[in-house]
Amino acid sequence: MRKISLKKIDSLFSAIAENSVLYMPVDTKTGAKFEQWENGKELSDSLNTVRSAKDFFFPQTENLMDFKVEGKKIEVIDSRSETEDFVVFGVRACDVKSFDVLDKVFLAEPQDSYYKNRREHGVIMSLACTKPNETCFCTTFRIDAAEPAGDVVCYKTDDAFYMDAKTEKGKKLLSALEGITEAADDTAVTEQQKLTRERMSKLPLASLKADAFGNGKTKEFFDRPEWKELSESCLGCGTCTFVCPTCQCYDIKDFNTGHGVKRFRCWDSCMYSDFTKMSAGQPRLTQLERFRQRFMHKLVYFPTNNDGMFSCVGCGRCLAKCPIQMNIVKVMKKLGGNSNG
């Protein structure tokens, strides 16, 4: 483990930024947001960013390719640019776990090379939580907020940053920083983790369990009558899907610039009425079916296809942002029965 005094934190950031683009959460008047670091920017003390960190690997919109169309001729132009080295600092345990979920989708064969390139070029410096929020429930999905995954795990104490490399990429990054960091034992970190875990156990959603859901439970939950009540007031907007770190549905669209055609990919939402609409018909006719799809996907379909891994990481963003305050916790409690706290 390495450490650096909090007073010297800017020298750490500038050393990292010398070799790669560095992003980190900074405060804005409307909440914390990942921004490119430059001298003078301060790391946010907020627990989490308003938007998740998925943008780094799966941006809301990205150009996939260009086409030159001339008469009957078409030329495909590969215009990708996702090959810049970057470091993301301050990613919380839930968001780091969301990358595992996204990997299951984008790195499954045939691999999505846009995502893969970004994953390969990005180094994750995660940041252990110390003060969780009332909306946090990462422990439900066996995530330890005090010990996030990532290439380098960081811990912020009152006077220092502690850093521990977990992967080859992380080791390489930390060894390049050896000149400005010093070796440290893990006493302070262990102490902090103990306190964090104690706090986690006292959260209002600490007893929420996902055990009722998972692999192979499609038939058990699909036709449950509670979906009607749960989806009743859903507006059908995409807020939950867009703030969600694991929602990864996308659309592919063409845009005629007047000089050629750009084919871009953008986030899409299963909550939208046109998501599955075809000229031949519409399999999900009402908001009930769309709402059910989103939660069945996170709690049943995804685990069925991925050895039981849920596609929710308990970050709590949907709890904070849903315009009508309907969310996965309410769904789990309603459908999962009393055992779910």
Binding site: L64, M65, F67, V69, K72, K73, I74, E75, V76, D78, R80, T83, V105, F106, A108, P110, Q111, D112, S113, Y114, N117, T218, K219, F222, D223, Q248, C249, Y250, D251, I252, K253, D254, N256, V261, R263, R265, D268, C270, F275, T276, K277, M278, S279, A280, G281, P283, R284, E289, Q293, M296, H297, V300, Y301, F302, T304, N305
Partner: protein, 277 residues
Amino acid sequence: MADIKEPLIPKIGVVTDIRIDTPDVKTFRVVTPDGKKAFDHKPGQCAMLSIPGVGEAMFSITSSPTNTEFMEFSIKKCGCVTEWLHSMEVGQEITIRGPYGRPFPVDTEFAGHDMLFVAGGIGLAPLRSVINYCRHYRDRYGKIDIVYGSRSMQDLVDYKEIIDEWATDAGVEVHLTIDREQPEWDGHVGFVPNYVKELGFSTDKIAVLCGPPIMIKFTLAGLQELGFDKTQVYTTMELRMKCGIGKCGRCNIGAKYVCKDGPVFRFDEIDELPDEY
């Protein structure tokens, strides 16, 4: 970055022939600009075709893999992309990527069996590939029955090929039907599911169905009445798709993605899926 293989980046295809099948179905022949097949496929698989600026859509590959020269797509005009495709002229370039999906098990479960193909309307398009595959490897399969119906005689897709080639093959029997009487039609009149029951097939065969949902539903029920088990009956499905590789998230039925785990399903597998298609 040309060395990176990316499944979403398509190849260029040239339309070398356009056949008008019915008032709203055309069959397009597609090769690469250097005159080759864009890729190999298996019967029942699909490809993404697109016109830049208009959109991309998934179509079943109508031609048989045994055709080594080109691919064909029989496409019904029903939306934005298909409307554009129908307005194309020979020589037009389009983009093509694939093949996608799980094919019919032509070399495993189907091998050695009598086959019954039941199609309605444009539903013949995905079956044409497997029918011609079975005809090509005629000795690998038993008797082949084809029941095909459409609204009218003019709406029968591939009519010429059916009459000139399929119906003249040894061991292949074609049963055509149309929904309503027509003066120039002296064949069977009536809906496909009823015709299947009237024909009364023996249950020692494998059935493959494709057509409108209502036809599938009643044909399956009819076959079950005749004694067929769901494990003997296959179909191919269609839902909205964008990526073709199980990632964009919209073509799932329960935990299965039609683009990747389908489009071919056996009816006992469909029973395992939630009722949302």
